[in-house]
C-alpha cells in the first residue's frame, strides 16, 4: 500500500468560469505518494476542470490546493515549480507538430531545467525505449499513429522527471485497437510507484490499477472508494446510476 505522505491536497475547491458557471462546488481530495486515483463521472461533471486546477491550467476562486507541499497561489514562482513537478497527458495528445519526437521530449528539460542537450537526449531515448517507440525518435508526430502519439506524450511528460502525472481521458481519442498499448504504459508507470490522477472511463484499468476510484457529479465528489467496492457495491444512488450507464 502507498505511503500516506500527501502529494496532492485539495480542500473545498470552488471554481466559477468567467461566464458565471459554477463548475466546482467545494471539492476535497487528497492523493498520497505512489497512489493511483481514477476519477470518473458523467460528461460535464467537472473532472477536467478539477485536475487542471492541480497544475494551474485553470484558476480556482476559493479553497486551497497544495501539490508536493507547494501551495498553489497566484505567486508565479510557485506555479512554475508545481508545473515542473507535475506532468499532464491530454486527450488530444498535444504534441508539438513542428518538432520531431526526440525534440518534443527534449524541449522542456533543456529550456526549463537548463540541462545539457546531449544528456537529455540520452535520457529521452531511454524513455522512448520504455514506451516502445525508440525507432520513431526522428519522425514528426503527424507521421505516427494515435497510440504512438499518446505514448510519446507520456514520455514527454516523464522527461521532466515529474513526481505526479495527471491524465485527462488519455485513451478517449484513440481507436479501440490502440487503447491497450497506452494503458500498458500507464500500468507499468503505476507499478513503478508513480503518483497518478487519471480521468478515464476504462473500467479494466480502474479495477486493475487504481487504489481509489472517485465519482464526480455536478461539480462535487459524490463517492470515493477502492475499486473493488466502487464497482460492486457503491454506496450512493448517483454512483449506481452512473455505473448502470457505462456497464
Amino acid at each position: 500500500m502507498p505511503a500516506s505522505q500527501p502529494m496532492i491536497e485539495a480542500r473545498g475547491v470552488e471554481k466559477w468560469y468567467p461566464n458565471g458557471f459554477h463548475a466546482l462546488r467545494g471539492v476535497d481530495l487528497s492523493v498520497s505518494k505512489g497512489e493511483v486515483v481514477v476519477i470518473m463521472g458523467p460528461s460535464g461533471s467537472g473532472k477536467s476542470t478539477f485536475i487542471r486546477t492541480f497544475n494551474a491550467l485553470e484558476e480556482f476562486q476559493a479553497g486551497s490546493i497544495s501539490v508536493d507541499g507547494i501551495a498553489l497561489s497566484n505567486d508565479l514562482r510557485n506555479i512554475d515549480a508545481i508545473r515542473c513537478e507535475t506532468g499532464m497527458v491530454f486527450q488530444q495528445f498535444n504534441l508539438f507538430p513542428h518538432l520531431t519526437v526526440l525534440q518534443n521530449l527534449c524541449l522542456a528539460p533543456v529550456l526549463v531545467r537548463k540541462r545539457r542537450r546531449a544528456e537529455v537526449e540520452g535520457q529521452a531515448m531511454g524513455l522512448l525505449e520504455r514506451v516502445g517507440i525508440a525507432e520513431q525518435a526522428g519522425k514528426y508526430p503527424g507521421q505516427l499513429s494515435g497510440g504512438q502519439q499518446q505514448r510519446v506524450a507520456i514520455a514527454r511528460s516523464l522527461c521532466m522527471e515529474p513526481r505526479i502525472l495527471l491524465f485527462d481521458e488519455p485513451t478517449s481519442a484513440l481507436d479501440p485497437e490502440m487503447v491497450g498499448e497506452v494503458l500498458e504504459v500507464m500500468k507499468a508507470l503505476a507499478a513503478d510507484g508513480m503518483t497518478m490522477v487519471v480521468v478515464t472511463h476504462e473500467m479494466g484499468f480502474a479495477r486493475e490499477v487504481a487504489h481509489r476510484v472517485v465519482l464526480m457529479s455536478e461539480g462535487r465528489i459524490v463517492e470515493e472508494a477502492p475499486p473493488e467496492i466502487f464497482f460492486t457495491n457503491p454506496q450512493h444512488e448517483r454512483s449506481r446510476q452512473f455505473l448502470a450507464q457505462i456497464l
Binding site: 508545473r83 508539438f96 524541449l107
Partner: protein, 403 residues
C-alpha cells in the same frame, strides 16, 4: 516515347470533346496572334534605345558617378554571399530539416543565370568594360558556389548555422556602402534612384515590417488592455486608409512622430510609412496564423513548465508563422508593387525614373518600351519572392521530412 505521351495527354486535356476542341483551338489562335504581334513589335518597331541609353538611370538614378564603385562592390559581395549560401545549401540539401530549397534542379538555375549574364548586358548595349564586370561577377558567384559545395560536403552541416548570419551583416554593410559614413563620402538619399531605390525601399520595409507585424499580432491577443487596444487601433487605422494618403500624411507628420534621426528626409519618411503600412497587414496575417494554432499547444507547453515567452518562441510562433507565411509573402509582394506610389510623392524610384525618361524630348512616345521593361522587372522580383516563399514553406513543413 515521352513526346508521344505528352501529345496524348495534351489531346486529352485540350481536345477531349468537340466543344472543348473548338474552344481550345480558338484560344490557341488568340494567344498565338497576341504573341506574334508582341514579338513583331518587340523586334521590329520597338526602339529599345530608350532603355539602352538610360541603363544607369534605371539602375541607380542620379547616384554620383565617381561613387558608383561602391555599388559595384556591393553587387560583388552579394554575388559572393549568394554563391556561398547556394553551394552550402546544395552540399547539405536537407540541413537539419528536410526538403529542398529552390531551385530543385539548380543546373537549370545556373543555365538561366549564365544566359542572363551573357545576354542582358549585351542587349542593353553596355560598354564592354561593364559587360566584362557582369561576367566577372557571375563567374565569382559560380566559382564560390562550386567551392562552397565541395567544402560543405566535407564539413558537417552544423556549419550551415552561422552562414545565414552573413546576410544581415551584408545588409548593414550595404547600407553603409550606399549611404556613406565610416570614412566614405555621404550620398544623401535624394540622390538614390531607380531600381536601387525601389529595392532599398522594399527590402527595408519588408525587414522592418515583419517584426513589427508579429509584435502587433501578439499585442492584439495580449491580456493587457492598453497593449491590446493600442494594437487594434493601429492596425485598423492603417488598414482603413489608402497607402497614398498615408504617404502624403507621412511626409507632413512623421517628422514630429519619430525621433529626428530616424526620418530626416522624404525618402526615409516614405520608407517608414511603407513599413507601418505593411506591418499592419502582416499583423493580420500573423493573427490568423496564431488563431489556427490549437489552444492545447500552449497548454501543453505551459504544463511542461515553459514560461509564456518560451512557449511563444518555441511552440506557438513557429507554427503560427509557418501558417502565416504565404499570406505574409503575399503582402510583401504587394508592398514591392506599391513602391511605385512613391513616384507620386516625387521620389525617383523605378516608375519615377521612367516618368522622367519619358518626359525627355529625346524619347517622346517610347512609353510602351519603358512600361514593358518595368513590368518585366517587377514581375521578376515578385516571382523571386514567390519562389523563395514556396521553398521556405516546403523546408518548414514537417510532413515533407525524411521518414
Amino acid at each position: 516515347m515521352a513526346a508521344n505521351s505528352l501529345l496524348a495527354s495534351l489531346r486529352r486535356e485540350l481536345f477531349a470533346s468537340r466543344g472543348d476542341a473548338l474552344l481550345s483551338a480558338g484560344l490557341l489562335a488568340l494567344i498565338a496572334a497576341a504573341a506574334i504581334g508582341l514579338l513583331r513589335w518587340a523586334f521590329g518597331q520597338a526602339q529599345w534605345v530608350v532603355i539602352q541609353a538610360n541603363t544607369t538611370l534605371f539602375a541607380v538614378g542620379r547616384y554620383p558617378l565617381d561613387q558608383q564603385w561602391r555599388l559595384w562592390l556591393l553587387v560583388a559581395l552579394l554575388a559572393l554571399a549568394t554563391g556561398l549560401s547556394w553551394g552550402l545549401l546544395r552540399a547539405n540539401p536537407r540541413g537539419d530539416r528536410s526538403g529542398v530549397l529552390w531551385p530543385a534542379n539548380d543546373r537549370i538555375a545556373v543555365a538561366v543565370l549564365a544566359f542572363l549574364t551573357a545576354w542582358a548586358p549585351a542587349a542593353l548595349r553596355l560598354a564592354l568594360p561593364l559587360q566584362l564586370r557582369w561576367w566577372g561577377i557571375t563567374a565569382l558567384l559560380l566559382a564560390l558556389r562550386w567551392a562552397a559545395g565541395r567544402w560543405g560536403r566535407r564539413h558537417p552541416p552544423q556549419l550551415l548555422r552561422w552562414v545565414p548570419l552573413i546576410w544581415p551583416l551584408l545588409y548593414l554593410l550595404g547600407m553603409v556602402l550606399i549611404s556613406g559614413g565610416l570614412g566614405l563620402i555621404r550620398v544623401p538619399p535624394s540622390e538614390w534612384g531607380g531600381l536601387l531605390l525601389t529595392v532599398l525601399m522594399a527590402s527595408f520595409a519588408i525587414l522592418a515590417s515583419f517584426p513589427l507585424g508579429v509584435l502587433m499580432a501578439l499585442g492584439r491577443r495580449s491580456e493587457l488592455p492598453l497593449l491590446r487596444w493600442g494594437s487594434v487601433l493601429y492596425i485598423e487605422f492603417i488598414r482603413g486608409a489608402p497607402l497614398i494618403t498615408l504617404l502624403f500624411l507621412g511626409q507632413n507628420i512623421l517628422g514630429f512622430l519619430l525621433p529626428g534621426g530616424l526620418a530626416p528626409d522624404r525618402v526615409w519618411r516614405a520608407a517608414w510609412v511603407l513599413t507601418f503600412f505593411c506591418g499592419a497587414y502582416v499583423a493580420e496575417a500573423v493573427r490568423a496564423g496564431l488563431a489556427s494554432v490549437p489552444g492545447g499547444q500552449q497548454e501543453a507547453a505551459r504544463s511542461l513548465g515553459l514560461s509564456v515567452p518560451q512557449s511563444l518562441q518555441h511552440v506557438v510562433l513557429p507554427q503560427a508563422l509557418r501558417i502565416a507565411l504565404p499570406a505574409t509573402v503575399g503582402q510583401f509582394i504587394s508592398l514591392l508593387q506599391d513602391t511605385t506610389l512613391l513616384s507620386l510623392i516625387g521620389l525617383l524610384e523605378l516608375l519615377g525614373t521612367a516618368r522622367t525618361v519619358m518626359a525627355n524630348p529625346d524619347f517622346l512616345g517610347k512609353n510602351a518600351e519603358v512600361y514593358l521593361t518595368l513590368a518585366v522587372l517587377f514581375w521578376c522580383c515578385c516571382a523571386a519572392l514567390g519562389l523563395g516563399s514556396r521553398a521556405l514553406e516546403r523546408r518548414l513543413d514537417p510532413s515533407h521530412s525524411p521518414a
